[in-house]
């Protein structure tokens, strides 16, 4: 019975999509004739298919398509702008940081322990940033499941 039901369901889907061969059509029709339950299943799923066939996704207004590529082009351009801003900011920050450290070390008015504390603060912060960046990069390169939707 279970095999027959499985077979019926396979044929049912093929029939819905007009993919039955002549032999399969004969087999399907004889299965339909043999059981009221099969006939009910067929009528019910056929009705759903007829409804979904009449459904149409609404077309957006034409001007959406006119502006579609322009939207992508602008976003691509802005992406390049952000990359340039980021590179510039990194260079300025590194140079500024270097100059700041230099001035702290060379300042004779600052006590040695204050100089050491400032340097430790900068070194600690840099180590922390490098560690986080390395961890992120490592996960990105080695995570086998990054493409899988969890």
């Amino acid at each position: 019975m279970s095999n027959e039901l499985d077979r019926f369901q396979t044929l049912l889907n093929k029939a819905l999509d007009n993919m039955l061969t002549d032999e399969e059509r004969i087999e399907f029709n004889s299965l339909l004739a043999s059981s009221d339950e099969y006939q009910d299943k067929w009528n019910s799923i056929k009705k759903i298919k007829e409804i979904t066939k009449t459904m149409k996704l609404k077309n957006p207004p034409e001007e959406i398509w006119d502006k579609y590529w322009l939207g992508i082009y602008s976003r691509l351009e802005r992406g390049i702008a952000w990359i340039l801003i980021s590179i510039g900011a990194i260079v300025v920050l590194i140079y500024g940081g270097f100059k700041a450290i230099e001035s702290v070390i060379q300042d004779p008015t600052l006590a040695w322990f204050l100089k050491a504390a400032i340097l430790m603060l900068i070194a600690g912060g840099t180590m922390l940033l490098v560690s986080i960046a390395r961890e992120r990069l490592f996960i990105r390169k080695t995570d086998k499941y990054k493409e899988i939707i969890r």
């Binding site: 369901q9 889907n13 409804i51 996704l57 609404k58 398509w65 590529w69 992508i72 976003r75 691509l76």
Partner: protein, 185 residues
Amino acid sequence: MIEPERDAEFIEKAQKGNKNAYGEIVKLYMKRAYFSALSIVGSHDDALDLSQDAFIRAYRSIKKFDTTKSFYTWFYKILRNLCLNHLRNKSNRASNFSEILDDFENIKDENQNTDKMIEQNETKKIVWQAIWKLTPEDREIITARDILNTSYEEIADLLQVPTGTVMSRLHYARKRLQKIIEELQ
């Protein structure tokens, strides 16, 4: 000219940094991408945004694309992941329903009487309500086959699974849809 050949010409130019050539590819596939996204996320604004986002991501990786393969199949993987991630991250999923009803055209048949048309539209609403209650994966396959009229072979190509798997997934998705409709009626 067959699809990969036609696309390859533009893609090779895009791989060399020609944005206008990529624009031609976008214009060829934008409607298909939009409707694919719409059938998964069910909102016009989100579908527009996600399909454009997918084209941007595809452009950034265009150098990795093998021009002998189908562009859309490769692109669809990016689009699909974006749409599914978007649904996963969206906190209020139920709000989509009213948006989706607006996304449907009511088919008006002048030969039909008003009562029958109202009844049909009501049934249509129930069916769409049920489609939206399915998982995104089930909804994707049902809308691709039964609403967007995509062939089994094309779905298999897009989802990168054998045709037999498409048939079996469709079968189970239809069964689940039928069950939800029965519960709603």
